[in-house]
């Protein structure tokens, strides 16, 4: 049976390549991005949304479940970086990075896990960065947001769904 996969941030980069790969393998992919995406495929569904917008995320995930009656995999791919020195990082930038990287992963995971728990099956994949492990200078806000994603992955209740950090 073809898998139903949600991938955030499919407009470009890793998210785009993953979407194309899974579509080529016959899976059904639901993607999202803030800006328009030109990926077209009969099994690809796209919506423009901000992953930190709770109302939009809830509606998006609900719609996937309503259409497919299951969600097999969530890939929390959407992310943004800020390489500014901490003393030159505006609050708004810090909020945007935290919102996209942590809040986006949190909201999508929470909503998808509801349906995955019901079907007693599902996988969630989160992304971290070497900047966390290596404590890279100049990436404080970015690595802090990814450290939060790592902790989300570690503390996630095992009884709900399988979650992995990559």
């Amino acid at each position: 049976m073809n898998r139903v996969i949600i991938i955030t941030g499919t407009r470009k980069g890793i998210g785009r390549y993953l979407a194309e790969q899974y579509l080529a393998e016959g899976d059904i992919v639901y993607g999202c991005s803030r800006r328009n995406c030109d990926l077209e495929h009969e099994n690809y569904h796209h919506e423009n949304l901000d992953v930190a917008d709770e109302e939009k995320v809830v509606a998006f995930v609900r719609n996937v479940y309503k259409e497919q009656k299951r969600i097999d995999v969530l890939i929390n791919n959407a992310g943004m970086a800020s390489m500014n020195h901490v003393l030159l990082t505006p609050k708004m930038t810090a909020e945007r990075v935290m919102n996209t990287n942590f809040m986006g992963s949190f909201l999508f995971s929470r909503e998808c896990a509801k349906y995955m728990m019901k079907q007693r099956n599902g996988r969630i994949v989160n992304y971290s960065t070497v900047a966390v492990a290596l404590n890279l200078n100049g990436e404080l806000v970015y690595s802090s947001s990814k450290a939060a994603v790592e902790q989300l992955t570690r503390v996630w209740p095992e009884k709900s769904v399988s979650m992995a950090s990559r």
């Binding site: 809830v58 609900r62 479940y65 309503k66 929470r110 509801k114 349906y115 728990m117 019901k118 209740p157 009884k159």
Partner: protein
């Protein structure tokens, strides 16, 4: 949909969860407690039931959110009994004022 149908969905979901997890409960009524010392579910059971109730209503094309700020911050918890939870859902979908 009326209140009785809402209560029936809520009760059925809880009964199914209890049967599936070998939790022995007597008759489920509107006064059956979901939290507190006499509760029939543990905390993880309540989480599972909340999720199952949300999706059961979604299968009926009715969207309810039991993890909303309103539900979590209410002075009197909507999760205290099957009846209270059913009333909370009824208010959320506009059946009760």
């Amino acid at each position: 949909m009326d209140f009785e149908q809402i209560k029936e969905i809520v009760t059925n979901v809880i009964r199914e969860y209890c049967e599936l997890n070998h939790i022995e409960v007597g008759e489920l009524t509107k006064d059956t407690p979901l939290i507190g010392s006499a509760r029939i579910l543990d905390s993880m059971g309540l989480v599972n039931v909340i999720v199952d109730i949300e999706t059961a209503f979604l299968d009926e094309d009715i969207e309810v959110s039991l993890t909303s700020d309103a539900a979590m911050s209410s002075r009197i918890s909507p999760f205290r009994t099957i009846g209270a939870l059913s009333h909370f859902i009824a208010r959320q979908i506009g059946i009760e004022a």
